[in-house]
Symmetry: C2
Subunit: 343 residues, 2 copies
DNA sequence: AAGGTTATTGGAAAGGCTTCCACAATATTG
DNA sequence: CAATATTGTGGAAGCCTTTCCAATAACCTT
């Protein structure tokens, strides 16, 4: 069917080894044989067979991306960073979009299949039990993004710190009754954000009230979804009509959008009635004027690829961990201050 | 390094052919040999080598997705449909996200590489010259989504019709000065939407005015991006202060969001000052109350995968073309009517 | 018990490439 | 010009499977 190196070898009156050398510009080959072969292979529009090459070289030039998928805008942006960087390097991306948590193991197993990919980028989810050992055993380079394990390279955001900064900002603006709408505590980032929130509250000697705290019911995306935000806010408002909180720290922008929606349906606005502070700085936050904590998503994608390549080339160094600090982006939903951090 | 069928064969005292048969539950094998082999292969935690298998079977169980990538939310949703469907079928996805138009050919060439994928899903872009012939020559099953070529299966949306319905709706609401903000005319959908808009205008005997028409300057995503929408609207408003249009049909929701932003910055609101009608019904349209034309994105993804599988199994039938009609989703940005189509 | 089936099995060949080893051809040196 | 070093080349072996063909073993028949 397709043209093989044997066809080229016959055409050029050389051995297949020579053809291979010409094609891979190996040093030990005479310039003119090489050119002749190249010319012929162009004429026959030869294409190496990807799998045959992969099998012989023990290298796939492909990496796997395992990421929560839903409509979580966080990932679209990280994905762009990854795509841009990886194209340059001539690699391909095998995408495993996780829609339900039970798919994680399934996808990991597939990606681990011998000879399928050269490395894995694993996102925002806890590495399922047992896979840490397995990954180390088969020595498949793996980078964790937005999640952590001591034995693997990782890139994370200071979630606890970010939540702390966010909440402290609300305190500084003078709010006393500060609630939080959180995603599911199954999610590590959600737990950390909760901790930061509590720390800021404690430090300011403000009371924590269960009445102003909700965890997502909608389990989609671990609770990082709009419906969950809507429902949590609706519930809090409806149950506390006579004594509303003044401000909310919400664990993601997408939930904040839902929460704002719930407020709007109840004729409440931010920041006049309730101040809202999100997390992520997704692209649409700018549009709706949401004050939020920004994560450098694109850069995280780029860095993830860089780390992975490092490790693909040489896996003999200890894990490195990079953390980014989220930055406060002041817009309108908390009321504004005089001195604004750069937006 | 890894366990191979030779290891299993030795362990089980059988030939490699027998091992292979056991693993692929081939009929011609004695039940107990099969069980013994299966048991051993489990014990050694054998994993077939993906590439060796692919090479021998001439089948990769992988398909390529070539799609515009940017932050175009349209694709996130189509992607979900694809991912869900394809996982069930045990296939993997090779993702090629196009950020700049010049990457298209590069990616196509890669995906066409012999033995790399079993089929291609090609999205929303014109198939570059010459590739139609090449695809047919190598007989790689290909489905076009949101774009068209007579010789390939395709799934499209009636863009012309959608734009016509949209514009006619604005006419029916009584608007006379109806502008349009369009994406780049390099894009086929953009051209069709323009045609539909003009047809509705002509039919209503309303004049078309260059003053109320803009094409995206920002070339990112062929002009389907927020900045382009913002800029176009800003320009129109600023140049026509004394004689603003009453309504706009805008070629995508994401541009509409930008346009609304530009209005907001100029203290104009929809629908009070200017009515806005978008296209796509991305998830966030609901949140901001944008009246728009809905494309059944998730279903398009699912159908695309189904068509592709059909063709992977048997490529011997003529191309089939499916088109979906977009439906009008009435929300708030055009003013509301009594009788609302289902939202 | 001999002959004829049928059910299993072993393993070579094929899939298309890279790489290594041995040999041939050419160039260099004294 | 012979001896030696250098360059270039052919092709077998290896990467790991699947698949096909031939061979063996087990089972029936009469």
């Amino acid at each position: 069917m397709g043209v093989t190196i044997y066809d080229i070898a016959r055409e050029a009156n050389v051995g297949i080894g020579t053809v291979s050398r010409a094609l891979n510009n190996h040093p030990k080959i005479a310039a003119k044989t090489k050119n002749r072969i190249l010319e012929i292979s162009r004429r026959l529009s030869y294409q190496p067979h990807a799998y045959a090459q992969g099998l012989a070289k023990r290298k796939t030039n492909t990496i796997a991306l395992i990421m929560p998928f839903f409509t979580n805008y966080f990932f679209v942006e990280v994905l762009q960073g990854i795509q841009d960087k990886i194209s340059d390097l001539g690699y391909d991306i095998m995408l495993y979009g996780v829609n339900q948590t039970n798919q994680v193991e399934e996808y990991l197993k597939r990606a681990l299949q011998k000879g399928k990919v050269d490395g894995i980028l694993f996102f925002s989810m806890k590495l399922p039990d047992g896979f840490d050992a397995k990954l180390k055993e088969i020595q498949l380079p793996t980078i964790l993004v937005d999640t952590y394990h001591p034995d693997f390279d990782s890139i994370t955001v200071q979630n606890e710190e970010g939540a702390y900064v966010a909440t402290r900002y609300l305190v500084k603006l003078g709010y006393k009754k500060i609630g939080m709408i959180n995603a599911s505590l199954d999610s590590e980032p959600a737990r950390m954000r909760y901790n930061g929130y509590r720390r800021a509250l404690d430090e300011a000697k403000l009371p924590f009230s269960e009445r102003y705290f909700r965890i997502s019911k909608h389990s989609k995306a671990d609770g990082f979804n709009r419906e969950a935000g809507y429902q949590a806010m609706a519930e809090i408002i409806d149950k506390n009509r006579e004594d509303l909180p003044e401000a909310f720290f919400i664990s993601s922008d997408i939930q904040a959008i839902g929460a704002l929606n719930a407020m709007k349906d109840r004729k409440l606005t931010a920041p006049e009635d309730i101040a809202i502070l999100g997390f992520d700085d997704i692209e649409l936050a700018k549009h709706i004027g949401l004050t939020t904590m920004r994560q450098p998503m694109y850069q995280m994608g780029v860095l993830a690829v860089e780390k992975l390549f490092h490790r693909i080339q040489n896996n003999e160094f200890p894990p490195s961990h990079t953390t980014f600090s989220p930055t406060l982006i002041v817009r309108e939903t908390c009321g504004t201050e005089k001195k604004q951090p750069k937006s």
